[in-house]
Structure formats: structure tokens, C-alpha cells
Amino acid sequence: MDMKEIMKGKGLGYWICTGAAVVSLILAIVVFATWDNALPNRVTDGYLIGIVLLIPIVLQAVFTFFPVRFAGVLSVIVYGAAFGTILLRIADTVADFFNKVAFQGGNFGTCIFYAVMSLILAFACIAACFFDQNKEEKYLI
């Protein structure tokens, strides 16, 4: 298997998704390192956000060797799920910020960072869907 040849044949859509996956990996690491203080007090499973963010890396590795046309859509679904996972966990801190109280704990800025980053990743992969994954029409499905 010639990696150089494989990579040469990848289209813009693929590279956008790969870039998103790399950012997702970094974000996952940030989440693992910070969720305990960043998320509201009641949340004991913030690491799940990081786990969801790791999925696109696995997906992208698979798509590298087994390209599919709708790879971007699958990534969008995962980033959407990541955003949902984040949303369900940061709500208390966000509500506290707007209510001008601080009774659920957490760090508003970091919570928003998680959410915005996951949205950016999702948008990137949406954009990727409008471009080819491969330069040539060689897809598994």
C-alpha cells in the first residue's frame, strides 16, 4: 500500500475533514484535561464529550483507506452528537451566566469554547460535503 499515492488522490473534502479530525483530537485532549472544573458541578461524566470527539479521528483513519462518498455526512453526525453532548452538560453554567448567578458552578468561557469549537468542526465537515473526498471517483460505496 503506497501511502503517498493514497494521499495524492485525496480531494479537498477529505482534507477538510482530516483537518477537522486533528482539531477534534486537540479539543478532546483539552476536554479531558479541563472538564472537571469547566462543567457544572452536577456533571460527573464530562469525559464523554472527549470520547465522542475521538470518534471522528477513528472515522477519518478508516475513510483514508476505505473511502466513501458520504464520509463528510458521517463526520457531521458525530460532531452534531458532540455538540449535543456538550449542550446537555453545559446548560446549567450557561443559564447561571445569563441569570447572573453562580450556583451550578463551571466556567462559562470554557463551556462556550467547547460548544463553539464543536460547531466549527461540524460546519467544516458540512462544507466538506460540497467537495470531493477523492480526486477520482473511486469509492468503496
Binding site: N41, V43, R69, F70, V73, G80, L87, N99, V101, F103
Partner: protein, 965 residues
């Protein structure tokens, strides 16, 4: 662009929107109660009844709402007038009517901490009364230039900062404005605490910027210097004389609308009558409790337990000597030269001996008035039949100004050889009861204080394993705070060398003391052997395993502070603690296993459910049915597993149960006022009152009850029948960050105050989940921290306020804490919930945990349900977990626990305003709220569009491939 790619792109957009909306829908349903509240959809569609502001039959009206609002806002001012504490006054206050040109110094004068920011109402911005407005409305001319400069300084108080601006802030453009406002320098200093994190150690000291400001004011030659202290945390105040401060007023957190009360005190419109709820120590780090407060981590062999929730500990080595009980007891022993109290151990750095006047700036219970009162304890009688003491007190007003006098009754129990042998500790003085009386100018007033003798009994965890009452001399005393009371007792004992908190020689007053001796010759271990609330229940040790010595290896066992030897036992920091095998095993939660003989849920063994009764019983039919009536079993049996799981999951409220026509109900926060909006009139946010330390500092049962009454009235007008409030943990140290939500350092003051508040709330049908039960006296590591204390301290100090709330206050709600009692997480502590709360205290209400999501390491759902937790705070997902657990493991035992939880929740709610508002013809349906239906509709549409777009893409791709081939 090829059309297939376009459809792929569109399908990705639709898929994303679908995912987004689906998440939003789940989120919205999680917070359904809150959304309903915002949208004005009240408790189960009910308009609550029972208001004194309602019409003749208690029905709420807009006109009643307007009267309530007026009373609430007026009460905010009254709270401060009667709760703010005048600590020092050399005659500078009240300000003369000619003294109206003042400068408000201190950055925090423009950044007042209205409340801690923890659970409570949002501000109605247009109505918030800041310091400038409060002064100007009262006719003062303030230095607006300086005030505006502070307002835009960009500096604010925090957990590690006093929030004061540096000396360089005061440019000549600012200092040139001072001469026009020189009648008084009114300086506001603030200290801040809130949830989750404790203030940085040392922040209670005067910081360099504050010193520079005081020096500037001294240099400017102001006629009067008045310091205002904002926030509940007691600053170190040893500097008042050094900077020539004429008067000092503590006003806590005033709420959004209470500052006019502070100004009224300064102007003399109000005569101050508040008294301290905490000791103002000269060294905030010096108390025994402070030696073990903060972040401590076990050492492990390897890492055998969850890192997040199982690695922290804190040890209450001070035993019962919290707050004034330490300072005043050590003072007596120092005066009487006993127990090595004069040792330098625990004294200020560099001191050769411990001296009270060096340690305490203002004692517990202290407060000044513009009137001058003298008190006489006329008599104390014991009623054997009622087992109560009654004290008669005369208060004389020596001044020409009418005022309110706080009458505080203290007692001293004999510290005996029995105590020394068995490790029973006795504070030299302890609060027993209090009252507040109006005393006319040059007139007198009488106060009668009746207290239960039980509250004077001591808990002996070693020999008697229960409460004891000992023979010997008991002293009852009144005084302006605990220190004056102990001086009066010492005077009666003939002691010499007495000093007040400023170090002045005093003689004490024998007229303020009565001695009493019970007619017993041996230690009485029988009178309180059984619970005063349920004589069938024996009271004995329940928290042996909360003592570190139960778990620790011999080389790590600790010694608690004893007045028998202050020098040898003054607490040292438990810096290291090795988690031995016992501790590691004890730290493991998630221990619930279905018992081998547990009944089968599927076979309907042991209990019945989902029964179709010939005559169905509705929720409202259970109103006034006693808790132990068998009708409850019949009622509960109608509910299916799905029905039974509905009410245990809180989503800022509990959904309705259509099977039994039980409407949904909101559960609101919080201890500093209701986090809810009114459903009447202008629909503003509920009132942000002055917080609980101020309410408590009024030392007035009527004020404390009025707070509860207005709070509950507002709950009616907000459609709220249950609230997570008030808080009554002990303010164990000056760094207890949630002090704003609690009441006092003293168990008895908290006992009375919380029960007054709660009882008033109950009268208006508000179920209060009193929080956080218990040993949750620090925010550092609060989730999962192992908290060790001995049983005497637990019984007499840390549980006592909760005992008051549930017994004297008749609460039907309580919230457990985040921490562990010893090693056992509070919400899984069966002994606490079943043996003490529901056993000894005969508690019939529900128990809610403090908000946490399921975690196998810490707050496991089956462990909590099995131990006695009934409602899972802010975690509706637990409902599905319980349902799935019972069906997947066929666990009939958990089903029974679930049924018991429903009974307790419904029983409590039927005694709330909700129970008083439901008519027999009410029908509850499972239909969705309009917004829920709308969200689902959008979800389905987006899902269909996403699938459609994908399908088109697939077809297009297929056709193209076909064409290409």
C-alpha cells in the same frame, strides 16, 4: 457543482440541523419545569391557593400580588435595619442631620455584593438599589466623581481579592473633590464567598490597597470615618483603632433592595439592633477549625479508587469547639487557670500566652444600639413536667431613644470528672434561646424565654452512648453576646481578671446570672435515652464511622481538642492520611447488589403495582390521609413502573402522573430568595432579599418567620410548591464560602432561625428542601470529600440545625450534601436517612440529593434509592435508569424502594400549597405542553428532510454510476 454533491451537502446540513434540534429538544425536556416557569405555565396548570394576599378564600389576584411586592420590598429594608450589626461606635453614628455631604470610599461601594451569586433570584435591574441611590434617596450628597470612578474601575471583589483599587487610582482630579464631601468618609470593604470554591486563605486580612485607602482618608482629615462591611464572611478587624475608625457596621449581603436599611441606620432613621452570628476573630486563620479546612488528599498504595471523587478528606479535629465555643471556653479556662489554657498554643504568632482580647475583635452575639440597655435575669425556673427552662428577663432602656433589645440566654453546664474520663466536652457558655423586645425610651420591657432542657444535654458517645444530663451547678446568663454572658457567669463564680473584647477590665454582672442545680446525684443517662420526637426510638451512636479513628491505623489516629488540655490537644493539621485497606474499601461506592432473596419484579412478588382498582384513588384523595394509613399502599399500587419513575427525576420540577391525576410541580432554588418569576402583574423576578446571615442576625423570631412567610407568599405567586432552601450548615470558619446561604457559626442560633423560617414557609404550603445535610462546611472538594467528625460534635453542632428544621420547623423536605459522612456519601447514607431522620426525628417527608449525575464511583443510582433518597435533583435521566435497572435485573426490592419514594414525595406535596389547590374534578393528562409538541414537530420535519436529501443523493449517485458504466 454536480447535483449529487449538492444533495450530499444539503443532506449534511439537514442532518446537522436535525442533530442540533434533537439535542435542544432533549435539553428542553430536561428543564421542562424551568421552561414552563419562564413561559408562565404554572404548577401543573394550577393557580396555587392559600395566600394571605389573596382574596377572601385565598385565591391569588393581581391586586394581592402588588400588595405582596410592596411588603416584600419594604421587608428588604427592614431586614437590614434589624439585622445589620453596629460593631463599633464612638458616637459618630448616627450622623447628624447637618452631616449629609459624604464620600463613599472603597471600590466596593460601587460594586456591592448584593448576594453570593449562588441559588437565588435574578435582579430586576431597573429596581436594584445601589449604594449611590440609597444615599441620595435618603437626602445625602455623595461624591459622585469618586463613585463613578469606582464604578468604571474594572476592579471587583473575588474569592482571592478584596477588590480594592490601588493608591495610584486616587489622582489629584479625584482628591480635589474630597473637600466638598468631608462630613464623613464612609468606607465599604467587601469579602466574597460563593458555591464551589472557598476564598483564598488570608483574604480576610486587610489588604495593602485597603490599608493605603485608610491611610489616604486619615491624611485627608475627614471628620468621621465609618467602615461598612459587605458580605457574610468576618474580616479581621484589629485595625479599626489604628486607622481611627469611628464606627463600623456589618451589613452582610443586603439583597438587591435592602441598602436603604443600611443608610437608615447611618442617618438615625433606624436604630440598629442586629447582633453578630459569627465571631470576628483577630486572626481568621487561628481557630481550631481553621487548622483543618481546605484541600487534603489521601495517599494510596497505587490508585485504587476513582481519582475525582474518592481521594480527598477533611478532619474536624476541633470537636465541639467551633466559633465562640472555642474562644469563650478557652477564655474561662484562662481566667480560672485550668486546662493549660494560658499556653501559647493556638495563640497569635509570637505571643507567649493566649489572651482573649488578642484573639477576638468582636464576640458572637455582640451588637450595639443607639439606645443603652441594661439587662437583669430575674429568674430561671425548671418545669419538670414539660422538661423546659423558663427565663424571665428585664431590659431597661437608659437612653432617650426607643429601641429593640436582643435578649440572649446562655447556659454553662458543669465540666466534670465524668466528662474528662469519657471524652465529653462542655463549652463554657452556649446559647440556649433568645428574644427581641421593644423598649421605650427610659422605659423597661420584659422578655420570657422558654427552652427545652434537652437542648442543654450533652452527647456521650463513649460510656452512655446517648445524651446525658449531669449533676452539678448550671449557670444561666444573659449578656450582649457570649463574651459578656461568660463574664457574668465568671463574676458569679467570683473570678477576677475579667476583660472585655477590647481588653478593658470588667467585673461582670451577677444580676445577669442564675445558678441552678438538678436534684440528681448521678449522671442521668435515661431521660434522653429515647427520642423526644418518637419515644419508641432509642437514641444511640449512629456515626461511629464518621470518626477518623474508626478507620485509621494506630499511627494515624487523631486526638480531638479537649478543654482538659488545650496545650496538648490544640489541633494540628492532618496533612497526610494514608488510605489503608479499610479506607479504600469504605471509599468504594456502587455497592448495591440485588439480594439473592430479593422478590421478583416481573412475578409481582413482595409488592403489587399497576393494579386496576374498582374505585380508583386519585392523588387528591390522599390529602389528609395519615402517613401510616394502609390506604397509601392501595393508592401506590395503582401505579405502573413507568408511573413510579416519573416523580423521582427532577428537571427543575416533577412532571404530572396522569394515572392518579397528580399534576406536575416546579422545584425552584434557592436559599437567597426564589429563583423564579412571578406569574402575575409585571412578572418580574422574585425578590432578592437580604440573605440568611442578616435574617439570623436580627436575633428576632418574628423577623425570621416573616422572611419565611414572604418567601412562601412569593412562591405562591410564582406557582412554586417546593424549593431547595433554606441552607443551615454551620459556618465553621471565616472562609466558609457559602456562608451567605447559611445562618450562623452556632448550632442553636441556626436551630431556631431555620426552624422559624421553615415553619413559616410550611404555613403557606411551601415545602422546603433544607440543605445540605450534613457536614458540608467547605466548598473545597465538596463533591466526595471524606468528612470526619466525632459523634458529640455531629449531634450537638452539625446536625442540630437540621434537627430544628425537621422537628420544630416541621419541614417535609431535606436535601443531602455532596460530601461523605466519614467515608459514606451522604445521599447513600442509610443510617442518616432512615435511623436518624426518619427514625429518631420521626421525619415523614421526602429526601432529595444535591444535584449530581449518576456515577458508579460516587453517586450510584441504586445505592441512593436503596438508602432512602427519594428525588434526584436536576437529573431526570435517573428515572429511565431506575426503570431499566428494575426490569433488567428483575429487582422487586428496588421497586418497593421506588414505591416508598413515591409515597414520601406525594405525602409531602399533598401537604404543600399544591395539595391545597387541587379540586376533586382535576384531570391530569399526558398531553405534551405546546412547546414540546412544536419541538417534536420540527425534529420530525428535519429528520424527514435529512433522510429525503440522503435518498436523493443516493439515487443521483446510483444513476450517475449507471451512466458511467
Amino acid at each position: 457543482m454536480r447535483t449529487s454533491k449538492l444533495w450530499l451537502g444539503l443532506s449534511s446540513v439537514m442532518t446537522f440541523l436535525f442533530t442540533l434540534l434533537l439535542s435542544a429538544t432533549i435539553l428542553a425536556n430536561t428543564y421542562a419545569g424551568y421552561i414552563n416557569s419562564v413561559l408562565g405555565i404554572t404548577t401543573g396548570g394550577l393557580t396555587l391557593q392559600g395566600s394571605s394576599y389573596g382574596d377572601e378564600d385565598g385565591t391569588l389576584t393581581v391586586e394581592g400580588y402588588e400588595r405582596l411586592i410592596a411588603d416584600s420590598y419594604a421587608f428588604c429594608v427592614q431586614e437590614e435595619e434589624e439585622g445589620a450589626v453596629l460593631l463599633k461606635n464612638n458616637g459618630a453614628l448616627p450622623l447628624a442631620s447637618s452631616e449629609r455631604n459624604v464620600t463613599l470610599f472603597g471600590n466596593n461601594s460601587a460594586h456591592t455584593i448584593y448576594r453570593s451569586g449562588a441559588g437565588g433570584p435574578t435582579p430586576n435591574d431597573a429596581l436594584v438599589i445601589d449604594m449611590a441611590k440609597a444615599f441620595k434617596d435618603a437626602g445625602f450628597n455623595i461624591n459622585q466623581t469618586l463613585y463613578d470612578a469606582y464604578a468604571s474601575s474594572g476592579t471587583s471583589v473575588g474569592l482571592s481579592s478584596a477588590g480594592e483599587v490601588p493608591a495610584s487610582f486616587y489622582t489629584s482630579a479625584i482628591t480635589n473633590t474630597f473637600p466638598r464631601f468631608k462630613d464623613a468618609a464612609i468606607v465599604t470593604f467587601a469579602r466574597y464567598g460563593t458555591e464551589n470554591t472557598d476564598p483564598s486563605k488570608g483574604v480576610m486580612k486587610l489588604d495593602d490597597n485597603e490599608k493605603a485607602l485608610l491611610q489616604l482618608i486619615n491624611d485627608q482629615g475627614y471628620q468621621k470615618i465609618i467602615v461598612l462591611l459587605n458580605g457574610p464572611l468576618p474580616m479581621e478587624l484589629g485595625w479599626l483603632d489604628e486607622y481611627q475608625v469611628d464606627a463600623c457596621l456589618w451589613f452582610g449581603n443586603p439583597g438587591y433592595y435592602g441598602l436603604p436599611g443600611v443608610v437608615n441606620i447611618l442617618s438615625g432613621k433606624a436604630n440598629p439592633s442586629g447582633h453578630t452570628v459569627e465571631t470576628f476573630a483577630a486572626n481568621s486563620m487561628g481557630s481550631p477549625a481553621m487548622q483543618n479546612f481546605g484541600d487534603y488528599t489521601y495517599t494510596f498504595d497505587g490508585n485504587p479508587v476513582d481519582r475525582t471523587y474518592g481521594t480527598k478528606y477533611v478532619v474536624y479535629k476541633e470537636g465541639i469547639y467551633v466559633g465562640y465555643k472555642y474562644y469563650e471556653t478557652r477564655y474561662e479556662d484562662a481566667i480560672l487557670n485550668q486546662g493549660k489554657a494560658n499556653s501559647a498554643k493556638g495563640a497569635l504568632e509570637g505571643a507567649t500566652a493566649w489572651k482573649y482580647e488578642d484573639e477576638v475583635c468582636f464576640p458572637f452575639g455582640w451588637g450595639l444600639s443607639y439606645s443603652q440597655f441594661t439587662e437583669t435575669l430575674d429568674g430561671v425556673s425548671y418545669d419538670a413536667r414539660e422538661d423546659t427552662f423558663t427565663a424571665q428577663v428585664t431590659v431597661k432602656n437608659e437612653s432617650d431613644l426607643a429601641g429593640k433589645a436582643s435578649v440572649q440566654l446562655y447556659a454553662q453546664s458543669p465540666y466534670t470528672e465524668y466528662d474528662k474520663q469519657n471524652g465529653v466536652e462542655k463549652a463554657a457558655v452556649q446559647l440556649l434561646g433568645y428574644d427581641k423586645v421593644d423598649v421605650p425610651a427610659k422605659g423597661t420591657a420584659k422578655a420570657t424565654i422558654t427552652v427545652d432542657r434537652y437542648l442543654l444535654a450533652s452527647y456521650d458517645s463513649k460510656a452512655a452512648k446517648g445524651y446525658i444530663f449531669e449533676p452539678g451547678d448550671y449557670y444561666f446568663a444573659v449578656g450582649n453576646g457570649a463574651h459578656e454572658a461568660i463574664n457574668n457567669i465568671l463574676a458569679e463564680k467570683g473570678a477576677t481578671g475579667l476583660v472585655d473584647h477590647e481588653g478593658n477590665s470588667v467585673t461582670g454582672s451577677k444580676d445577669c446570672v442564675k445558678k441552678w442545680s438538678p436534684s440528681i446525684t448521678e449522671v442521668d443517662t435515661k431521660t434522653y435515652k429515647n427520642s423526644p420526637y418518637d419515644p419508641e426510638v432509642a437514641v444511640t451512636n449512629k456515626f461511629d464511622d464518621a470518626d477518623l479513628n474508626y478507620w485509621a491505623d494506630d499511627d494515624q489516629k487523631i486526638v480531638y481538642l479537649t478543654r482538659n488540655d488545650w496545650d496538648a490537644t490544640f489541633p494540628t493539621e492532618v496533612k497526610t492520611l494514608h488510605a489503608n485497606e479499610k479506607i479504600v474499601e469504605g471509599l468504594r461506592m456502587d455497592k448495591y447488589k440485588k439480594a439473592a432473596d430479593a422478590p421478583s419484579y416481573k412475578a409481582g412478588e413482595g409488592t403489587v403495582y399497576d393494579v386496576e382498582l374498582e374505585e380508583p384513588i386519585d392523588f387528591i384523595d390522599m390529602k389528609d390521609v395519615p402517613y401510616d394509613d394502609p390506604k397509601w399502599d392501595k393508592f401506590i399500587s395503582q401505579m405502573s413502573l413507568a408511573d413510579l419513575t416519573i416523580s423521582i427525576g427532577d428537571a427543575r420540577g416533577i412532571p404530572g402522573v396522569s394515572t392518579v391525576n397528580k399534576p406536575g410541580n416546579a422545584i425552584a432554588e434557592g436559599p437567597e430568595g426564589l429563583l423564579a418569576k412571578f406569574t402575575f402583574g409585571d412578572k418580574r423576578a422574585a425578590t432578592g432579599f437580604a440573605t440568611l446571615p442578616i435574617v439570623t442576625a436580627s436575633w428576632d423570631h418574628k423577623i425570621q418567620s416573616k422572611f419565611g412567610d414572604l418567601f412562601a407568599e412569593e412562591a405562591l405567586f410564582c406557582g412554586v410548591a417546593m424549593v431547595n432552601a433554606p441552607g443551615c450548615n454551620i459556618i465553621r470558619t471565616p472562609y466558609s464560602s457559602r456562608a451567605s446561604e447559611y445562618m450562623s457559626e452556632d448550632a442553636m442560633l441556626s436551630y431556631y432561625s431555620v426552624s422559624n423560617v421553615v415553619y413559616a414557609m410550611r404555613q403557606k404550603g411551601l415545602i422546603c428542601n433544607v440543605k445540605h445535610c450534613f457536614l458540608n462546611e467547605q466548598e473545597t472538594n465538596r463533591q466526595g470529600v471524606s468528612t470526619f467528625a466525632n459523634e458529640q460534635a455531629i449531634r450537638e453542632i452539625f446536625l442540630r440545625p437540621f434537627e430544628g428544621a425537621l422537628t420544630r420547623g416541621h419541614s417535609l423536605g431535606i436535601m443531602t450534601s455532596y460530601n461523605r459522612i466519614g467515608l459514606q456519601y451522604a445521599a447513600t447514607h442509610s443510617v442518616l436517612m432512615n435511623d436518624v431522620l426518619r427514625g429518631e426525628w420521626a421525619y415523614e417527608g421526602s429526601i432529595i440529593d444535591d444535584a449530581l449525575t449518576q456515577s458508579q464511583y460516587y453517586c450510584s443510582t441504586p445505592d441512593m434509592l436503596d438508602a432512602g433518597t427519594n428525588i434526584f435533583c436536576l437529573d431526570a435521566q435517573r428515572s429511565a435508569q431506575v426503570r431499566s435497572l428494575i426490569t433488567s435485573t428483575d429487582d422487586g426490592h428496588l421497586l418497593k424502594q421506588l414505591q416508598e419514594s413515591n409515597k414520601r414525595i406525594f405525602y409531602a406535596l399533598l401537604h404543600s400549597s399544591m395539595g391545597g389547590s387541587i379540586t376533586e374534578d382535576l384531570t391530569v393528562t399526558d398531553s405534551l405542553m405546546w412547546w414540546q409538541g412544536l419541538l417534536i414537530g420540527i425534529d420530525v420535519t428535519l429528520g424527514a428532510l435529512a433522510v429525503g436529501a440522503m435518498a436523493v443523493f443516493a439515487v443521483k449517485t446510483y444513476r450517475k454510476n449507471k451512466e458511467d458504466n
